[in-house]
């Protein structure tokens, strides 16, 4: 397998972008990545998007976006793994290059979520759970994560305040990210007193509905070295991808995320790194409880101690392992298909030393974890600056 590096990143402001269509958001973002890489022509493109069909009634966006990006005739397609679609696009691009099939690939992600009502978005998102045996009975996504949270609290004594600590920290980081949808700070009391969505999760425990796109350009190391101007090269050195039962009730335990544990083990093995080597990480904090569980499954703290670990500020910038310096899904926003790509962008910026106010000093190795559904898909990338 050939070494693969990230040579360009592109991301525009996320939020309720009423004035821009799916294709405009994607093309502006992808073109920014192409310009950052200093290239003109792609060998191919993978676009992560969970449900353009339900959100804007448009399928077949691989061809649509390649055309509008001025990359006529390239091989391009959409890949889907619910909220892990972006991470899957990056993995596909990596494999395409690593095996020698292509030299320069764009991995992008996009979701246009505000062209439907709140009900429409809830419906589209719920398709990532078991339609006939969970959603049929009235389960929603916040509801499913709430049931996991309640189990985690029951088994390990995780507290309401510890859940809030995740939101407070991520909004603190997001307040320094000009591209974030909600770049403001929140307080513990603010989280706890906000509107209840699915007990015990309030609206400030949940990631928002977001329009947004993100893109990275990957290349084999030889091509990357030729193209590199001033940007330090960031290599992807480990990838782990795993799945689990889509329905929560089919899993022996609800207080863990087995697919994330397995994906993490695979990525650590491929890269030869351990949790102790990682300087900065982006986790899939679709709900506050998710970040706590991912911390445990990826080996950053003991099982059951994720809440305590977070409350003690270990995941803050300057802490043992800064998590979600970008603001995470909580503050930066969660245009589902774009999220996994944006995580790779934040880690690339951190490893390049371009983190600005959010920079983790001396970061050399970073990790991203992107998750679909209630954790039935999980993709971990480990990256290192050359």
């Amino acid at each position: 397998m050939r070494d693969v590096a990230i040579i360009g990143v592109g991301m525009t402001k996320w939020g309720e972008i009423w004035e821009k269509s799916l294709r405009q958001m994607f093309v502006e973002t992808a073109y920014e990545a192409i310009a950052d890489a200093g290239i003109e022509k792609l060998d191919g493109m993978y676009v992560g998007s969970m449900s353009p069909g339900l959100f804007v009634g448009q399928e077949h966006i691989g061809a649509l976006l390649a055309d509008y990006l001025g990359q006529k005739n390239i091989p391009a397609g959409r890949v889907e793994s619910a909220c892990a679609s972006g991470g899957l696009a990056v993995k596909c691009a990596f494999m395409d290059i690593a095996c020698g099939n292509s030299n320069i690939i764009l991995a992008g992600g996009v979701e246009k979520m505000t062209d439907v009502s709140g009900d429409g978005a809830t419906y589209a998102l719920a398709t990532a759970a078991d339609q006939e045996y969970e959603v049929f009975h009235g389960a929603t996504f916040p509801g499913l994560y709430a049931m996991m949270a309640r189990r985690h609290m029951h088994e390990f004594g995780t507290t309401r305040r510890q859940l809030s600590s995740v939101a407070v920290k991520n909004h603190e980081n997001g307040s320094k990210n000009p591209l974030a949808q909600y770049p403001f700070k929140v307080t513990h009391e603010g989280v706890e007193n906000s509107v209840m969505v699915a007990d015990p999760l309030t609206i400030l425990d949940c990631s928002p509905i977001t329009d947004g796109a993100a893109a990275v350009i990957l290349a084999d190391l030889e091509t990357a070295k030729k193209l590199a101007k001033n940007n330090p090269l960031v290599k992807i050195i480990g990838i782990g991808h795993a799945t689990d039962s889509i329905a929560l009730h089919d899993r022996p335990s609800l207080s863990g995320l087995e697919a994330t544990k397995v994906a993490g083990e695979r990525a650590y093995k491929m890269s030869g790194k351990t949790p102790g080597d990682v300087n900065v990480a982006e986790f899939h904090d679709c709900f506050t409880i998710a970040e706590i569980m991912v911390l445990e499954e990826l080996g950053f703290c003991e099982k059951g101690k994720g809440g305590e670990f977070t409350e003690a500020c270990n995941t803050h910038i300057g802490g043992k392992i800064p998590v979600n310096t970008s603001g995470g899904l909580k503050s930066k926003g969660h245009p589902v298909g774009a999220t996994g790509v944006a995580q790779v962008i934040e880690i690339t910026k951190q490893l390049r030393g371009d983190g600005g106010e959010r920079q983790v000093e001396g970061a050399k190795i970073g990790l991203t974890q992107n998750m679909g559904g209630t954790g039935a898909s999980s993709i971990v990338h480990i990256m290192e600056v050359v």
Binding site: Y123, H137, G138, T140, R151
Partner: protein, 130 residues
């Protein structure tokens, strides 16, 4: 949405029909076509016990459109007496009673009214059994 989609699920939703893997003793609800470790198996029809306890639950305050008139309502995962787990609503209970570990029984109830299907949908809901 065609009625066939809910009609197809009647054996599970109306009669709690599962499949038992005679080779391993495992119970699959809903039925599976190969075993959890990817093998062909000898299966037989198996009716789930209708009693169990609350494994976890949540109160849905922000519902999907087809449950608009019912919120807030409780969704839970029940662990049945044979160890099988399933997701359903809990109904006819006192607020103070609700907790992990409480005994429940599954009853035949209406689940959705004029949902996406355009027809009434029935199935199982949990009620207190203590």
């Amino acid at each position: 949405m065609f009625p066939a989609r809910i009609w197809r699920e009647f054996p599970q939703r109306y009669r709690l029909e599962a499949v038992k893997n005679k080779d391993t003793g495992e119970v699959y609800f809903p039925p599976r076509y190969v075993s959890k470790d990817g093998k062909k198996f000898n299966g037989e029809k198996y009716i789930l016990p209708d009693e169990g306890k609350i494994f976890t639950y949540t109160v849905i305050e922000v519902p999907p459109s087809q449950f608009k008139d019912e919120a807030p309502y409780v969704v839970c995962i029940v662990e049945l007496t044979d160890g099988t787990k399933l997701t359903c609503q809990i109904t006819d209970f006192d607020k103070d009673w609700l907790d992990i570990g409480k005994k429940v029984r599954l009853e035949f109830r209406r689940v959705q009214t004029d949902a996406h299907h355009g027809v009434l949908s029935y199935g199982y809901k949990a009620v207190p059994a203590e």
